[in-house]
Subunit: 206 residues, 2 copies
């Protein structure tokens, strides 16, 4: 695609480096910005730069935070004895949105995946083990995605903390609330039968 302006070409090239955005979409976005007031582009450009330059990660749970210790970790009302291990920041948001979990988190920053060149050292596993070693943690909840990489990561962590006498659990896998049984895959349906809960327990959720 030949463009009449080097500035436009450069902007399109940079935008299309973003995941899921091709040259065509990038061009549409660039031309859209040109039609908007100058302030919109200034705000966007500035917000991106400030995010990338000034962002900090909580020194305890490694969640994105504007302060050294995030709001969740510094909240005295939360149960510091339960840690939910997640892959990334979006998982924290998703669980927080349920409003049901009152413990703390640990953001790994990914999962072990040799094929993508991600080893344990690129994740925040050492700091997690440190948190467990300190002795205040009673339970670790694994909430990684249920893939080969997720399972590998869970097991890698499990091996390192199993001697510290804490409870480890994994989030329940099963049929989604409101989903039809006939459309569920066998593995999920199988798990939801194997890990069935007492009927009285399930009543409590309603």
């Amino acid at each position: 695609m030949e463009m009449s302006s080097k500035l436009l070409e450069k902007a399109v090239a940079e935008i299309s480096l973003l995941p899921g955005i091709g040259k065509r979409t990038a061009l549409r976005l660039a031309l859209h910005l040109l039609k908007q007031p100058l302030e919109q582009t200034q705000h966007l450009s500035n917000a991106l730069l400030r995010l990338r330059e000034d962002i900090r990660f909580c020194t305890i749970c490694h969640n994105i935070s504007d302060t050294e210790v995030c709001e969740i970790c510094s909240n005295a009302l939360r149960d510091a004895s339960v840690i939910c291990v997640v892959e990334d920041v979006r998982d924290v948001m998703a669980i927080e949105n349920t409003g049901l979990f009152k413990g703390l988190y640990h953001v790994l920053g990914g999962k072990i995946s040799p094929i993508d060149g991600v080893g344990p050292s690129q994740l925040t596993i050492v700091p997690l083990v440190e948190r467990v070693k300190q002795g205040n943690v009673k339970e670790l909840i694994f909430a990684l995605s249920s893939t080969m990489e997720g399972d590998t990561t869970n097991f890698y962590i499990y091996k390192q903390i199993k001697d510290y006498n804490i409870v480890t659990s994994a989030i329940a896998r099963g049929i989604g609330v409101g989903d039809e049984l006939e459309f569920a895959d066998e593995v999920t349906l199988g798990r939801s039968i194997m890990h069935r809960v007492p009927f009285e327990t399930s009543l409590r959720d309603i």
Copy 2:
């Protein structure tokens, strides 16, 4: 969606102002940038700002250009007597990609659309009529999209230039090259029959 960082929240809000990008995609893009080297965000941020602040439009055809008169308008090898009227910059690129048109362009910047609050004065119609008045133009090709707004715009321009004794034409509508007849809509198929071309002429394209 509650976020643990105001910086992240601000960046997501700004990104999701872009067309076709929701909060969820914006968050994915913002988190992606955080994982990339700082330079990528700096380049992106800078490219957007420079595009918006420094971009210029050709004073003749209103195409995006880094110079006062764009490369097409200043190319002496092109036929200045034929002007192709298009909606926006992308249309110029599309036609240029065919390599078949050797005239000049006129970018309107949109089409007349009362429902979107776009009147003739927001488009570059006055400068177009000026170009025709100057007397060097022999033919005007309307290449706007074939919608009610496009037809209205064509007709509005036509009324203003019809006394200047120039040829006006519209790009051919018909079945796309390689398309199956059975899948074409009636209007398109109807037009392709009404505006049929001599067989010898069609042979020349092969």
